[in-house]
């Protein structure tokens, strides 16, 4: 996994609550057996019109957010199915950070497994970020945020600064790009001992 330390990028505001994983990556693209190449299908049904051309109404298709890498969303982002295809699609599209007031649990975990940082900020801070993005975009320039993982802060260059917390273990895995399977396999002896102690009568 690629380590994640800090990141500065263009913000894509997606002003919707309860964005579910069926929207992030619709089911017709779940038949592939690879981990890569899902970015082209991200938000497919919102992003493209029936004839396959980009939907100019969809937030992410606006030229001002071209090349964005920080997704800004509303409550309960990533709800629904456990499909890791959702973070795969977001990461493959170019997102490194997702900021929202709340995330669905499985999606939240899945992000870390793919070197992508989900950040929870208070609802009023997220409101403020949406506001600042609108102001910047009104002048024709994209809104940028800087995320510093070791310090745990998100900043812009106009005085916005908020701290966020990440579980220390997840943080270390991101910073060092660690494979958590490798880490768990270091505890094989304990796992074996647990199995020996729990060879349950319930084993059929």
């Amino acid at each position: 996994m690629q380590p994640f330390v800090s990141h500065t990028g263009i913000v894509s505001p997606l002003d919707r609550a309860n964005v579910d994983t069926d929207q992030i990556i619709p089911k017709q693209f779940l038949k592939r057996i690879e981990r890569t190449g899902f970015g082209q299908f991200l938000f497919f049904d919102w992003r493209f019109l029936a004839d396959g051309t980009p939907n100019p109404e969809f937030e992410l298709n606006r030229p001002v957010v071209a090349g964005s890498s920080v997704l800004l969303a509303r409550r309960n982002f990533g709800c629904g199915s456990s499909r890791e295809h959702a973070p795969w699609a977001l990461a493959d599209y170019g997102f490194k950070v997702v900021i929202a007031p709340t995330f669905a649990d499985i999606f939240f975990n899945n992000c870390f497994q793919n070197g992508m940082l989900p950040i929870r900020l208070a609802e009023e801070d997220v409101d403020e970020l949406f506001r600042r993005a609108r102001v910047a975009e009104a002048t024709g320039s994209p809104y940028r945020l800087r995320v510093d993982l070791p310090a745990g802060v998100v900043t812009d260059d106009a005085g916005f600064s908020r701290s966020f917390t990440v579980d220390p273990f997840r943080k270390r895995c991101l910073l060092e790009g660690l494979d958590d399977i490798g880490l768990s396999l270091q505890h094989t002896d304990e796992i074996t001992a647990w199995e020996a102690a729990n060879a349950a009568p319930a084993e059929g």
Partner: protein, 469 residues
Amino acid sequence: MPSTPRTLLDKIWDAHVVCTPSGELPILYIDRHLVHEVTSAQAFEGLRLAGRRVRRPEKTFATPDHNIPTTDRRLPIADPVSKQQIDTLRNNCSEFGVRLFDLGDADQGIVHVIGPELGITQPGMTIVCGDSHTATHGAMGALAFGIGTSEVEHVLATQTLRQAKPKSLELRVEGALHPGVTAKDLVLYLIGKLSTEGGTGHVIEYTGPCIRRLGMEERMTVCNMSIEAGARAGMIAPDQITFDYLRGRDYAPKDFDRAVAEWERLPGDPGAVFDRVEIFQGGDVVPQVTWGTNPAQVVGIDATVPDPTAFRDPNERDSGSRALDYMGLAGGTKIVDIPLDRVFIGSCTNSRIEDLRAAASVVRGYRVASTVHAMVVPGSGRVKRQAEQEGLDQVFRNAGFEWREAGCSMCLGMNPDTLEPGQRCASTSNRNFEGRQGKGGRTHLVSPAMAAAAAVTGHFTDIRHWLYR
């Protein structure tokens, strides 16, 4: 004996923590790992690339369900990409020594239907699957939750998972359900009260007399939809109903009485404390119908479609308006006046034998409305055979329903069973997200009896006034 009273969750959790390396998340042992074709290929590939094995193949069970046709099983799979995904599961299971309930196997079915049915799911176990409706298995008093593909790989390689302990939420339901009101209505009602994220970060334990009265399959319906309230897992303490259900099943413990003695110690101790408690009355629940594009957007059959502009929360207002737009509905419309094009009876929420019996009893002696295309997709090969023995397939066929082979089918429409754009469907599944059953399709979630009644009348109909023939 520890003196602090513990909940069901505490007991299962404590019993499965292998160790907590300093500064790291606990390593939780996993008793059963269920695998299906859509979320496992990349995990097996990861093992292969790293030269790793499946640590405990005998605790791992696989079946293809999401992406399979539900038509004649003797025909080849037409879609080459779907076929490749199913072939990949086959190859992975044979390479890594995992038991596969393959297409054509008499016990194949939706992974959350066959787990309990075969007795693979047992009280006190930790159970995971790369699927968010793994919560279903919690109905047997297990801790069961969905995981992503990277976590699937972690479990395959180590038979454990890195997990922080979730918080506990007790949903106590007092009283009893009225006649005609089902477990599906209850869980939709609870989700409507909690919101789609009310359970985030929590494991729900459903308690109280109303829950105790539910049969095993009804409990599965309730736990199944815990994820729709944001909770990764839902559970119900095991009792005599659980033990009676399990006894004699293929994978049930050989020394069953000894196992029961263990399981009887699982229910929470008196005085055990939950992080949060919410109390509801079973008698308040009426048959439910969703009107929007998430399962919390739900009302009773006797209500009207709400007007989202009146909602106080700005997020709810916005998503409610978007939902009505997508659903092609106007606030103030009576639910019973909404006409339907399709009816789908199936999915891991409502495709078990009792669901089919309930739907068949409504349909018996009636015909599907001429404007409606209706289908029944049993949850497993076993359910299908049982239904056929009871003649339920004939009841459905005579009424004009299609009778299919087992699988997920139109619950998510990965296979050819999908809605056309603009089509409106009464569905017994669990998600009414935009495009869930087909791009542009409009899904209303209901119970099997309500779906059956809607198929006959062509619009939503209050099952409490149904004339059974």
